[in-house]
Structures are given as C-alpha cells and as structure tokens.
C-alpha cells in the first residue's frame, strides 16, 4: 500500500470514528439533560411539561409526611413551595429546613413526582442548585418590596 493511501485510510478512519463519537455524544446529550427549575418558576408554569427536570431549594419545615415507603414533602425557595412525592429510600441528610434537589416530572395537578432525591454529604454543604433557587426568590422579593 502506498504511503499516500495509507495516510488517507488513517485520516478517513479517524474522521469516521470522530463523526460516530460526535453523533453518539450529541444524541445522548440531547436525551439526557435535565433542566433545573426553581419552585417559583414551577408556579409560574415555566416547568417543561412531560419532561424530566430538577427542582431545588429547602425542604419546607413541617412538610414531611410518610406513608410507608412513599414520602410527601415540599421543596421551597422561601417564596413558593412545590409539593413532591417520592417512593423509596431517601438519602441520610434529607431533613426539614435543609437544602435538597429532586429530579422527576410535574403532574397535571401540580405535584412533582421525584424519581431521585439528591444526597449531600456534609451538613454545611448546600447544593449549588438549591442555593441558586433560594437566592433567586429572595432577590425577587427584594425587588417587590422596593
């Protein structure tokens, strides 16, 4: 095989591989992204319908209610609270008044069915998404007052 052919074969093979990988990546990225929506945005109807997304904020005080393995609670950004239903075992640090992030879908009745509740592993740590939601809500409240 001539060296020119060899080079063309190598480059062609490389491009094909990269093209294939890029297709895989973009495809997978498209179908596996979860947007993050604050509870206030959920109340304003900005949540993507029928799609998986994440909400974050604080677990509202006094909102946890257990019904065997199904847990009802509310996630709040201090302005608005979204009722959440989750079946399964919650992470150790899931507590009222602490930050939490839940992933799932919104139901037509406005409740959020979570398929996953994110754990954090340090009491002093606040998930950045939860912090963001609370900051947003407090900023909005300040602008209202002025």
């Amino acid at each position: 095989m001539k060296s020119r052919h060899k080079r063309i074969a190598l480059i062609g093979g490389g491009l094909a591989a990269i093209g294939l990988a890029a297709t895989l990546v973009l495809n997978a990225l498209n179908s596996n992204i979860a947007f993050f929506v604050t509870p206030t945005e959920v109340a304003q109807g900005k949540a993507p319908q029928g799609q998986i997304f994440r909400i974050g904020g604080m677990v509202k005080e006094g909102s946890i209610r257990r019904d065997n393995l199904t847990v009802h609670f509310a996630i709040t950004d201090t302005a608005t609270a979204v009722p959440v239903v989750y079946t399964g075992i919650l992470p150790d640090l899931f507590q009222e008044g602490k930050g939490a992030v839940a992933q799932g879908r919104i139901n037509p009745d406005g409740t959020f069915t979570a398929t996953e509740v994110l754990a954090k592993h340090d009491e002093n740590y606040m998930p950045p998404e939860a912090q963001h939601a609370v900051d947003q809500a407090q900023k909005a409240q300040k602008t209202l007052k002025q």
């Binding site: 190598l10 179908s31 596996n32 979860a34 998404e129």
Partner: protein
C-alpha cells in the same frame, strides 16, 4: 508552637522549591554543572521540610490541638485515634498538604532512583517538579493554610464528617493522590525532554516505569473509591458518573492511553508528539480534577462547603500549566523527527486506535462533566447531565477496544499480517461465540447486552491464552510482557463484573415488620427487629437479619446499622454485606416507619449483586500487571547512550 513550626517549615519549603524549580533548569540550559548539582539536594530539602510540616499537622491532630482551626473543624476528643490521624487529610486544607507532600515525595523518589540518567535530564525533571510544587504550595500557603490559629480555641472540636469515619479514608485519598500527583512526574519528564529538545526512545524508556507506577496508584485509588462508595454510602452502586468520579477517571483514561503510547515511542521512536501531548493532558486533567473537587462548582457527593477564591486560584494555575506547556510544545514540536514508519496493519496502528478510543472516551466524559458549567456560563440556565448520557456514550466507545485488546499484542511492529493473525486467533472467535450464547443462559436469562459483553470476555481470555502459547515459542517472556497480560486479563475480569451486575442485579425497597421476610436473588432475609447499641462516638440502631439460601439453608446473620454521631445532626447508614466470589448480598436500614424503633416496621433496602466483586478484583489485577511491568529489569539497566534507538529502527 508545633503548628507554627509546621507553618514555618512549609514557607521555608516554598522557597527551597523555588530554588529547586529555577536553578537546575537554568543550569541545564546554560550547561553549568554546579547549578545542575543543586537539583538533588534541593529536592531532598523540600521533601524533608514538607515532611516536617506534615508531621506537625499530624501531631496537632494527635494531641487534638483545637487552637488550630483546621483541627477544631475536623477532630474531636471522642474520635478514635485511627480516624484522628487520617482526619489530617479529611478536609480541604489538609488534603492539599497531602497533595503537596506526595508531590515532593515523587520528586524525592525520582532524585533517588534515577542515578543512571544523565545529570542534566534529572535536573530538568526535578526543576519542572519544583515549579509545580511552587504553584501548589503557593495555593496552600495563600488560600488554604492548615495551620491557621483560632483566637479563642473551642473546648471541643466539631469532629470529622461521619461519612469519612471509615477505613476507606485511610487508604483511598492517599492512593488516589499518589496517582494524581504521579502524573506530574510523567509531565515533568515530557517537559524536560521538550526543554532539552531530546524527545527520543531513551526519554520514553525513562518515563515509562514512573508513568506506569503512577497509573497503578490511580487505578487502585479509583477502585478503592468505588468500593468505598459501594459499602459506605449505602446506595449499593459502584459507579455514579459523579463529577468527582469523572475527575479521577479522565486522567486515568488519558494515562492509560499514555502508557500504551509510550510503548510505541520507546520501541519504535514514533508517536513522540502525541505522547508528549498525552503527558500534558494527563497532568492537566489531574489539576482540573482538583479544581472540580475543590471549587464546589458542580453538584457532587464530594463537594464540601467551599470558597470560590480557591477555585479561581487552581483555575489560574491550570491555565499557566496548560498554556506554558503548549507554548513550549509548539516551539519544539516541529523539530521532532517522526520516528519509525509503519504500515496500516501493524502494532503501531492498533495502539493508535487504542489511543484514539481512550482519548475520545475521555473527551466524551469531559464534555458531559463540564457541559452544565458551559451552558450556565453562556446563560443557558442550570442543567444536569445524568448517568444515562455517560453509559450511552462510554460503552459503545469501549467495545471496539475490547476487540482490539486481543489483536494488538499478536500484531508485529511495523508491518503485521492480518490474515495470519486471524488464523492464529480463530479459536478465540469460537470461544467468544460459545461464551456469548452459553454463559448468559447459565446465569439465568439470555440478554443481548450481557451476551455481547461475555462474548468479548471469551474473546479476550482465549486470545490471552493463545498469545501466551505463541509468546513461549519465541522464548521465555519478560516481566513487562507478563504485566501486560495480567492487566489485560484484569480488564476481562472487570468486564464480567460490570456486565453481570448491571444486568442481573436485584434491588428491593421494602417495609418490614419484625418477623417478616423478603427475597431477592434467591436469598431470603428475615428481619428480627432493631436494638440500640453504643459505639465510641455514636449511638446505633442495629438491625438483626437472618439470611437464608434458596434451599432454605441458613447462611449467616447480617447487622446493618443506622448511626447517630454525637457531634453531628447527620444520621449515617452502615450497610451490611455478605461478600462472595460470585455475588454479594447487601442489606441497609433506611428509616423507622413508626415511633417504636425496636419493634416497629422499618424501611429496608436489600440487594443481590452478582459478580460485583469482580469489578474491583479486575482493577486489582490491572494494578498488579502495572507493577509487574514497571519492575521489568530493562528499566534498571544503565542506558548506554542517551539517544539510543532500538536496533532495527530506521533513523
């Protein structure tokens, strides 16, 4: 007084490292033997000083000196000694000091075990390591000083995060850091070779054992981290595609590419530019990993309360390292010879494809990890990329690699005969088909995914046997050849574990009253309620379970715990696991479902995990293979001439 001594030693070490970073490099450039000679003593002094500093911090933990802010934040009088000592690296400041300590440790090892290398080369390597040390030490001293004192020391410390009070803390961070930081050595060798304008087979030969050993540590560190997460986090998963896991996995992928590419550079003098780029990438990704872990920009199990200033500092350091290295590379690369030519079908090509696949896989992981940051930075809102993305991308990229593992080692350098290779390997293809059809049926249910994986395992394992027979015809193999075989076998073992556990695992979350049973994977668990028990610094609710086999025979008792640490609001789940060669059974207590903890119902999670242990067993075999390869006799033989090209290679 002792903490001040530690702080002082650290600052002194900073200046000695500055000397280590500047004088030898300038000396090697100007050919001044006296400046070159500074490299070894300066490296030894840096190592000693950082060692003193590290010992001082350890002492502060040993005596629980709560006037030191870092100790007060991570220790406690009730904390058992073992965890008090490993708490030294249980937080941000101390873990960075450990990072620096390991870095100077690697440099000292290079200084000690490179007697056969030319003095100028050693000076350059140690010089580059010195500069890296300076950067990281500045980070520790300026932003994360572990010796900061408190004006009014508390009577009691805040103690260590309960999650970290586990033997995993003793082994996992040091091993992982050894691997991370070891990449700095591979990087330093590449930079030294670039600086000297001497990218040749000799450089690759010197760099190889160091790179391989760093890779071994990284492999062990990641595997132990995965195992720790499996038993400690109580979720029963072994890999979550968490940003911080990815942060350690990306350097591993590139380092794996690097050790294969170094083989080509050493044996054939080719791929030099590529090898240098990989060395730069591996170290840069280690730094990026540190940035991701330490800056808290991503939601992760490893993220701790953080300070944005710190993230910025590492980002700047990363920019300097990448920028300077690439500039140097751009200046020197055009002068590098291309090395031995090779045909389209040759071992070089197989290793090239291996490299492309590993780097593309790393790129895909990098994209998935950073994508949320990129989207957020451009105002696209906050998003997250889930594990399905990584599985969908990573697995298809890895499959061809598993096919090639069988082909590469039987291919000849320069020009291989594909029909002859296939003729040699056809029995492996038969084994592959048989394994793909039969083994999944033995496991219970035939499943396309597991059939494909087991067929590949059959292919790899049979090819390993055929390769060994073939190799013995040519005389008895070297240690490094055995190392390669062992590592490749480890890969096969790991694939078995991954395929089996992801296909056949069973998980059940159930509500259990005392006396009730639940079955999973042919094992039956009987719950006998919970009793309270007292540990050194916690109270635990201990669940009492009997495990029975499918035939009703009693297997053993399991005692999962739910702990409440005295110093923390945070309950801790301690899973109970019965490990086995072909399966683990796993039970963890979630929470009481009634106020009566002792006799009331509990939420319980049970798992059946077939072959999960093979994942870590496979990693261990890979690491052993790496050690065997690094121990090869030829690395210890003095290089005859610094630009030796192996016989038979065209100039």
């Amino acid at each position: 007084m002792i903490p001040e001594l530690g702080h002082f030693a650290l600052i002194l070490a900073f200046f000695v490292a500055l000397v280590q970073g500047v004088l030898p490099l300038v000396g090697a450039h100007k050919n001044r033997a006296d400046w070159i000679a500074v490299a070894r003593p300066a490296t030894a002094a840096t190592f000693l000083l950082v060692g003193v500093s590290f010992a001082c911090l350890t002492w502060a933990f040993y005596v629980n000196d709560f006037s030191v802010e870092y100790v007060a934040g991570h220790s406690n009088t009730q904390l058992p000694l073992m965890y008090r000592l490993s708490a030294v690296w249980g937080g941000h400041e101390g873990s960075l000091l450990l990072w620096v300590f390991m870095l100077v440790g690697w440099a000292a090892a290079v200084a000690a075990f490179s007697r056969q290398l030319p003095a100028a080369m050693v000076a350059r390597v140690l010089g580059v390591l010195g500069l890296v040390t300076v950067g990281l030490m500045a980070f520790v001293i300026l932003t994360s000083n572990p010796f900061d004192r408190l004006m009014s020391p508390p009577a009691e410390g805040r103690s260590l995060n309960p999650l970290l009070q586990d033997p995993g803390l003793i082994y996992h961070p040091p091993l992982l850091y050894m691997g991370y930081v070891g990449m700095a050595v591979a990087y330093a060798f590449a930079m030294a070779a670039l600086l000297a304008g001497q990218l040749d087979a000799a450089w690759a030969r010197w760099s190889r054992p160091w790179t391989t050993v760093a890779w071994v540590f990284l492999t062990l560190g990641i595997a132990l981290g995965s195992w720790w997460a499996y038993y400690e986090l109580g979720w029963g998963g072994w890999w979550f595609w968490d940003p911080v896991e990815n942060a350690s996995f990306m350097p591993w992928l590139v380092a794996t590419a690097l050790i294969h590419s170094l083989a080509v550079t050493e044996k054939r003098g080719s791929f030099k530019n590529w090898t240098v780029l990989l060395a730069i990438a591996a170290f840069s990704l280690s730094l990026l990993g540190t940035f991701l872990v330490r800056s808290g920009v991503l939601t992760s199990v490893h993220a701790f309360a953080t300070d944005p200033k710190r993230g910025l500092f590492i980002l700047i350091l990363l920019a300097i390292v990448v920028g300077a290295s690439l500039l140097l590379f751009a200046a020197r690369a055009p002068k590098v010879s291309l090395g031995g030519r090779f045909e389209l079908v040759s071992r070089e090509t197989f290793l090239l494809v291996n490299n492309v696949l590993l780097v593309v896989a790393c790129g895909a992981v990098l994209l998935g990890t950073l994508y949320p940051l990129i989207v957020d930075a451009f105002g696209g809102g906050k998003i997250s990329v889930g594990p399905p993305y990584f599985n969908a991308v990573f697995i298809p990229i890895m499959l061809p690699l598993l096919v090639l593992v069988a082909l590469g080692p039987v291919a000849r350098w320069k020009q291989a005969d594909l029909p002859a290779m296939l003729k040699k390997l056809w029995p492996a293809a038969v084994v592959a088909v048989a394994a793909g059809i039969v083994l999944p049926m033995l496991a219970g249910k035939w499943h396309a995914y597991v059939a494909l994986a087991l067929a590949l395992v059959g292919w790899m394992t049979a090819a390993l046997v055929l390769q060994t027979i073939e190799r013995f015809k040519a005389g008895s193999p070297t240690a490094s050849w055995w190392g390669m075989q062992l590592a490749h076998f480890g890969l096969a073992v790991m694939v078995v574990g991954i395929a089996m556990v992801s296909t056949y695992e069973e998980e059940r979350d159930v509500r259990m009253e005392p006396g009730e049973t639940v079955s999973v994977g042919g094992h039956t668990f009987k719950f006998h309620g919970v009793r309270e028990s007292r540990g050194p610094n916690y109270t635990a609710d201990v669940g009492d379970f009997d495990v029975f086999l499918a035939n009703g025979k009693f297997l053993r008792k399991l005692y999962p715990e739910k702990r409440d640490y005295d110093t923390s609001q945070m309950p801790m789940t301690e899973a109970a696991i019965d490990p086995g060669f072909t399966r683990d059974v796993y039970v963890s207590l979630a929470e009481p479902l009634s106020p009566d903890k002792e006799n009331g119902p509990w939420a319980v999670r049970v798992y059946f995990k077939p072959f999960v242990g093979w994942i870590w067993g496979g990693s261990l075999l890979m690491a052993l293979g790496g050690l065997l390869a690094a121990a090869d006799r030829r690395y210890r033989i003095r290089a005859k001439s610094s630009s030796a090209v192996p016989a038979g290679a065209p100039a």
